[in-house]
């Protein structure tokens, strides 16, 4: 039995625009795999190709040893989809919707069990049109799980949840993985990816620019991040920074140093400032978060994108 999801060199073109550009990854059973990336990075397109909603331009895709582009009802019987862009009939009640969609699956989870799982007991017989956005997302979740799926696709599953509901949503996702399902998650929330995902891939401009466990990705940014601001009157800090070992990013008075040797670098910086008799404003030493790594990855790519766009404009 191979991995639950195997994607290799996936390409998707919309006309002249290449939305997905050679993406490869695998998701094992019992694993939560997160796709991170800004809007338009190709996350949704990738997931929709796996779900069978879209065809691909090139590359190979296997989900449960099936090619989704030619798969039928038997394939959709084994997968669960929680999509942001798929609605529910607002005239129905959660119980009716679960009964209706659930009846199509060969292995179905009892309606009452699902309603309890997503904590909609009180609203089970209310019209869906009267439910809050967060409650509607929970029915989405219930409908995605009603067929006891082997692979679950979650497209920003906790958008619109309050913090407590979000925690419970996370517990639910963890439980799905512990039940040996493969979970493919897309999310805008980095803390969500960090908390839930066994592995993360960062997508930008249709390509995977980084992949690994959240800890591995954080490690890419070095072990520590030193941040401070120098007073206005201080001349270029380059003389200070020359002997510092890490990567330096200066924006006006604000300086960020990513380093694997924070102790010696910090000693140099504070010694330099103390010698000249001024304070470094907002001096902090932190471990880089996944967000820091993500923003630097995506920012790099945005610059490329902007350049490419300018070139395109100048030709027309």
């Amino acid at each position: 039995m191979g991995p639950a999801v195997a994607v290799s060199e996936l390409v998707k073109d919309y006309g002249a625009v290449r939305a997905v550009d050679g993406v490869s990854f695998e998701v094992e059973r019992g694993e939560v795999f997160a796709l991170l990336g800004p809007n338009g990075a190709g996350k949704s397109t990738t997931v929709e190709i796996l779900e069978g909603h879209r065809t691909r331009t090139a590359g190979t895709v296997r989900v449960l040893d099936t090619d989704p582009s030619s798969a039928g009802a038997a394939y959709r019987d084994r997968i669960g989809i929680v999509l942001q862009s798929s609605g529910i009939d607002p005239e129905l009640t959660p119980r009716e919707a679960i009964d209706y969609y659930g009846a199509a699956y060969s292995r179905r989870v009892p309606t009452d069990e699902l309603i309890e799982l997503v904590e909609l007991d009180e609203k089970a017989d209310a019209r869906i049109s009267t439910l809050s956005g967060g409650q509607q997302r929970r029915i989405d979740m219930a409908l995605g799980l009603v067929g006891d799926p082997d692979v679950v696709f979650l497209d920003e599953p906790t958008t619109g949840f309050d913090p407590a509901a979000r925690r419970r949503g996370w517990e639910l996702v963890e439980r799905l993985a512990s039940e040996q399902r493969a979970v493919l998650l897309t999310t805008h929330y980095l803390d969500e990816a960090e908390h839930l995902a066994d592995r993360v891939a960062v997508l930008a401009q249709g390509r995977i620019v980084a992949e690994g466990t959240p800890a591995e990705l954080r490690a890419r940014a070095g072990s520590a991040l030193i941040r401070f601001a120098v007073p206005d009157r201080v001349e270029p800090v380059s003389d200070l920074l020359a002997p510092v070992s890490g990567d330096i990013v200066g924006r006006g008075r604000h300086v960020e140093i990513t380093t694997d040797t924070p102790t010696s670098d910090l000693a140099r910086i504070t010694g330099w400032a103390a010698e000249r008799g001024f304070e470094l404003e907002g001096l902090t030493v932190t471990t880089p978060s996944l967000e820091d790594v993500y923003l630097s990855l995506v920012a790099d790519d945005d610059d490329d994108g902007a350049k490419a766009l300018d070139d395109g404009d100048s030709q027309t």
Partner: protein, 270 residues
């Protein structure tokens, strides 16, 4: 078969929970029958069927109009709205067969159409003494079946061409209502009707649906009163509607604005 039955029942439930849709497809045509007979009196006048009472003229026409709005307008707007809400996309991601879902939408609309036609005919007979003969009932039933199927196919075509609800609603109204005026439904056609208007009405299916149904209720027609050539025209329109739907129908929600706004959108009733 059980799946199809479940889909029909679900669509029916949705219909009855949308009171505005129920009003326009069922109550509105009956109100028009009551109004027309009140305004013009139930007197005899010259029509294409011969000299008949106004209720005898209006009952089959408005019955057919109710059937056409339930199928054509109802299916067109319902599917456009389900697509816009992303419900059609959800269906495509489940093992529920697409044909069963669409079959549920179509057959539920035909069922509502049958209720509308039955209510109209019963009212016509009971309140205005409209003529219905047992020997011509098969012609009424077949005409209803072919006409409803034809307008259901056109409803599928409408939902395929009009990508959004905002397009489907005016398109449905701007096609069906003017058509009713040139199809011997609201205004009786007779010897004084200009030839071009007669011809124009003959191109479209509503006039044939109305006249075939009216002939089956006409006290002067001979049983069994099948109007085969009119049923033939309806079948041509059925084929055209089905072809457009097969060519253009989409399950994907239209790209309108931000995806996040879809939760606030509600389906617009007919």
């Amino acid at each position: 078969m059980r799946t199809l039955w479940r889909c029909i029942r679900m669509q029916n439930r949705i219909f009855w929970r949308t009171p505005v849709a129920a009003f326009f497809t069922l109550v509105f045509p009956i109100l028009m029958l009551a109004l027309f007979t009140a305004i013009f009196g139930n007197d005899a006048f010259d029509t294409v069927y011969g000299r008949v009472n106004s209720s005898q003229f209006y009952t089959p026409g408005l019955a057919v109009f109710a059937a056409a709005s339930s199928t054509y307008t109802g299916i067109g707007i319902n599917l456009a709205s389900r697509r816009e809400l992303g419900i059609l996309k959800r269906v495509r991601g489940t093992p529920l067969p697409p044909w069963a879902y669409l079959g549920g939408v179509v057959l539920s609309a035909v069922w509502i159409a049958a209720l509308g036609v039955a209510a109209m005919v019963v009212l016509g007979v009971a309140a205005y003494g409209v003529n219905v003969e047992a020997a011509k009932v098969p012609a009424m039933l077949l005409t209803f079946a072919v006409g409803s199927a034809s307008f259901a196919a056109l409803g599928l075509a409408l939902a395929s061409v009009a990508r959004s609800v905002a397009m489907a609603v005016p398109t449905a109204n701007a096609t069906l209502l003017p058509l009713a005026f040139i199809s011997n439904i609201f205004v009786p056609f007779g010897s004084e009707t200009p030839a071009w208007l007669d011809l124009l009405g003959n191109i479209f299916p509503l006039k044939h649906f109305g006249l075939a149904f009216g002939e089956a209720m006409n006290p002067f027609s001979d049983a069994p009163a099948f109007e085969w050539h009119r049923l033939g025209v309806l079948l041509l329109w059925l084929a055209a509607g089905a072809a457009v739907a097969a060519w253009k129908f989409s399950w994907e929600p239209p790209v309108i604005s931000g995806r996040s706004s879809r939760r606030r959108r509600r389906p617009v009733p007919a």
